[in-house]
């Protein structure tokens, strides 16, 4: 096996949580509220369906092929040629997804702080620091997650605790004014984000102990959904109807904090801590991409490819997304379908074929 490090259940859950939630809390309130309006806090609950489904499928697959990632068992299930093609589609998607995540990070930092810096410097510098973590292997990322995420999580909660005097509970009404459909339509973006739980298949083989992986995967999905509901609800209570005009409501909310008129301008602290979560997210994406690529090519080691793949990610983050507006628009329209077809359909296909093959080989054997 290429990777020698091992992680615990908690580290798995935290890495997956960071992978999904770090950018989700920035972009989901805006994208969801375009369709759902005041029901935006319901949308992640519908989105959780695809999260649960994907975790179940991935755990089933990893039980059938223990110690293998999606790239490796894809080849075992579908045969060499077809397996390589399917794995290539998945890897290309992962490269694209990683590039989008880096771009999301860069756009946020740029619009919040570094207005005049070229975005390539922002993404390039985080890519360099992530490359160091990736070079350290999965254990490094797992330890980073256990150290950083409690701080980030406390931050998410503290923003809205400080804002309690400004929250207006009446903003939540009317609930489901136009029926249930707007919230389901808005759930397309949470679906896309939660479908990223298919990346769990890259982490399961490195668990020290694999019996309770289903429970911890589900726990991670529930935690992500609750965070999204909490953030959406907090923003709705604070901003009311104007939420569909704000690109980064969480950042605006942090800007709003003013306790006793001496505790102000918290947003710089918020970004500084948020970057910790973003770092864990980006380095886990980066790690999965590097590991997947070297497994696809059946190479003995992945560490040599960290820097070239990092460079490729930065190229893609510039190339595949022309502008911020197009990225935001794509998140509400085409991107979720892309995410769902690759991350839901490929595991479903693999599981179906694997189960049929198992049944047939069992019936032929005495």
């Amino acid at each position: 096996m290429i990777e020698k490090g091992r992680i615990s259940y908690l580290e798995l859950a935290l890495i997956m949580y960071a992978t999904v939630v770090a950018t989700a809390i920035l972009y989901i309130p805006y994208v969801t509220s375009q369709h759902a309006k005041r029901d935006l806090w319901l949308s992640p609950i519908w989105g959780s369906l695809s999260g649960f489904l994907i975790v179940m499928i991935i755990v089933k697959l990893s039980k059938l092929y223990p110690g293998k990632t999606l790239i490796e068992y894809g080849e075992l299930i579908l045969g060499r040629t077809l397996g390589k093609i399917i794995s290539f589609i998945y890897l290309f998607f992962l490269l694209h997804d990683t590039a989008i995540a880096f771009r999301e990070y860069g756009e946020f930092i740029e619009s919040a702080f570094l207005h005049k810096t070229p975005i390539i410097f922002v993404t390039g510098s985080i890519a360099l620091s992530c490359a160091i973590a990736v070079h350290g292997g999965i254990e490094t990322i797992g330890r980073c997650a256990t150290i950083f995420l409690p701080i980030v999580l406390a931050l998410y909660i503290l923003i809205y605790v400080f804002l309690i005097p400004d929250l207006n509970v009446k903003n939540i009404f009317p609930i489901m004014q136009d029926g249930i459909m707007p919230s389901i339509k808005g759930s397309i973006a949470p679906h896309a984000w939660l479908s990223q739980f298919s990346l769990m298949s890259f982490l399961i083989p490195f668990l020290t102990n694999q019996q309770k992986v289903m429970k911890w995967g589900m726990f991670s999905v529930i935690a992500s959904v609750l965070t999204m509901v909490f953030i959406n609800l907090g923003n709705l209570l604070l901003f009311g109807g104007i939420i569909s005009n704000l690109y980064f409501p969480v950042f605006e909310a942090a800007r709003f904090i003013s306790v006793g008129s001496f505790f102000e301008h918290i947003e710089s602290m918020v970004i500084a801590f948020w970057v910790l979560g973003g770092f864990v997210q980006l380095s886990s994406f980066f790690y999965m991409l590097t590991l997947g690529t070297s497994q696809w090519l059946t190479l003995p080691s992945y560490k040599q490819f960290v820097l070239p793949i990092g460079f490729l990610i930065i190229i893609f983050s510039v190339w595949s997304i022309p502008s911020f507006e197009e990225m935001i628009q794509g998140m509400g329209t085409t991107m979720p379908f892309y995410f769902l077809t690759v991350q839901l359909l490929i595991p479903v296909l693999l599981l179906g074929v694997a189960v049929i093959r198992r049944k047939r080989s069992n019936s032929f054997l005495p």
Binding site: I188, L299, K303, I315, G330
Partner: protein, 73 residues
């Protein structure tokens, strides 16, 4: 400006190459070839992007494939 961009990209890639090359000698031939091809792909894409910044990319491909789904939503 374009010459500067191409030079900058080349310098970064050469630095990565010089940093990684001594470590590659320990591994097999396949690792070396893959590394070399990856660097070549990086260089070609980066230079193309410096010269033609508006080059259609994978984002447009995805938009083209999934455009028809939008009407259902």
């Amino acid at each position: 400006m374009k010459i500067g961009g191409i030079l900058g990209v080349t310098v970064i890639l050469v630095l990565i190459f010089l940093y990684q090359w001594p470590k590659l000698n320990k591994n097999g031939r396949k690792v070396k070839i893959t590394f070399f091809l990856l660097m070549l792909l990086n260089w070609v894409l980066a230079v193309l992007l410096v010269i033609f910044p508006e080059m259609p990319g994978p984002g447009q491909l995805i938009d083209f494939i999934y455009k028809s789904f939008e009407t259902f939503w």
